[in-house]
Amino acid sequence: MKYIDEPAKLQQEILKKTYSLALIPLIYSLIRGEFATLLGFIFGLLIATLIFRLRLIQIERALDMQEKKASTFIRNRYFIEYIIYFVVLFVARKNPSVNFLAAAVGLFFVKLTVIGLVMIDIIKGSLEKKLESYR
């Protein structure tokens, strides 16, 4: 993967790709006039982006701690994030002007991009290996 030694740059790259991919559902829902879906998706995506950025800061802080303290720190932070996810989904479900499923997809979108990038990397690697074996 590109920028494997520079997590901040990799994070920016992932976020750029996430937002460029997110344009497809955003434009689609805008054209169809589904504003609840649009709002839900933007809501989920913004929270996912902020949590993704927060996670890098937390990991950098945790690596300077003792082993046990770092473990507890990351675990506690995860549970705080879990509560934030719950609040986001609950608000999306309660509010009729925000689509619940779109908010859930927005929360997943960063993860989907990461999985997609890793899959592309694996496929590229295996294709390069095959090409080298033919030479």
Partner: protein
């Protein structure tokens, strides 16, 4: 055969869906414990090999992002159960 009134059936369904929601939320605890273990191992790895800090952070970041998604799955199911019951 025992027959229940519609109110009783409704309350049974409501109770069962709330219990299901509670059980679904328990699924979110696993990733937290796993992430904690990973963080502990990563600090040990950085102490042993400080020059690999960037690569360790990247691997941990991507791993945590992926493992955190199971928690969201469980929350989605739980909220569906809470509101549909």
């Amino acid at each position: 055969m025992v027959s229940f009134s519609p109110e009783v059936v409704d309350s049974i369904i409501r109770t069962a869906s709330l219990i299901g929601a509670g059980l679904a939320v328990i699924a979110g605890i696993g990733p937290g414990i796993g992430m904690g273990y990973a963080a502990g191992a990563a600090t040990e790895a950085v102490r042993r090999q400080p020059e690999a800090r960037g690569a360790i952070i990247t691997t941990m970041l991507l791993g945590q992002v992926i493992s955190g998604s199971t928690g969201i799955y469980s929350l989605v199911i739980a909220i569906f159960l809470i509101f549909s019951g």
